[in-house]
């Protein structure tokens, strides 16, 4: 596709539920990133994939958060036992090699009620 695509654009879930957020990077981009943006803050790094493997997952806040990229393209961010504090915009980004220009998707707005 032309850009990074994220689905759904909005997700409302109840506290304690499990959610999956999907990211389709730009075709051919080997690097994929997940960020989280809370209100009034800049995007906060969560995890970085190079190909299928997580090269850096140091930003994941706890073990309720997990991300996969099994075929080196589409990635899914998974959040277990959601909490109200998980409410944020989750941004996915990709780049050709892991250096250089990073392109962002429009994000998934997650609201935990």
């Amino acid at each position: 596709g032309a850009g990074v695509s994220q689905t759904p654009s909005n997700k409302v879930t109840e506290k304690g539920k499990y959610v999956e957020l999907r990211c389709d990077p730009i075709s051919g981009h080997t690097a994929l990133y997940w960020y989280r943006q809370s209100l009034g803050q800049g995007p906060e790094f969560l995890i970085y994939f190079q190909g299928t493997g997580a090269a850096d997952d140091s930003g994941l806040p706890n073990d309720r958060f997990f991300a996969v990229r099994p075929e080196g393209s589409v990635s899914t961010l998974k959040i277990q036992r959601t909490e109200r504090g998980d409410s944020a915009v989750y941004l996915c980004a990709s780049s050709l090699t892991g250096t250089g220009l990073v392109s962002f998707g429009s994000g998934t707005r997650l609201t935990v009620v």
Binding site: Y33, G40, Q41, G42, P43, Y48, Q50, L91, V102, F104
Partner: protein, 110 residues
């Protein structure tokens, strides 16, 4: 600890005037910086970058200045246009991740 800081949450300027957005960082090892612009309900879009081997980079109406000794960078937009109204983020680019500031909301009044 905030490694990249944008201390002004908002800025309002008149159309045609200069907008100056500031950013400070704490880690002297950072050697590449970017500015992103974000409209509501959209992802950040790349605007301009600068490497630490330079102290200035210009692209049309946008110029970024880097002062390594002060660990400070700034984005100048001149002349400012109403369409420039958005949230601007500066970011440092250590390998594998971007570290963003909190953002500055710029409003350009017609």
């Amino acid at each position: 600890d905030q490694q990249v800081k944008q201390n002004s949450p908002s800025l309002s300027v008149q159309e045609g005037r200069i907008s100056i957005l500031n950013c400070d960082y704490t880690n002297s090892m950072f050697d590449y910086f970017l500015w992103y612009k974000k409209y509501p309900a959209e992802g950040p879009t790349f605007l301009i970058s600068i490497s630490s081997i330079k102290d200035k980079n210009e692209d049309g109406r946008f110029t970024v200045f880097l002062n390594k000794s002060a660990k400070h960078l700034s984005l100048h937009i001149v002349p400012s246009q109403p369409g420039d109204s958005a949230v601007y983020f500066c970011a440092a680019d250590p390998p594998g991740k971007l570290i963003f500031g909190q953002g500055t909301t710029l409003q350009v009044k017609p």
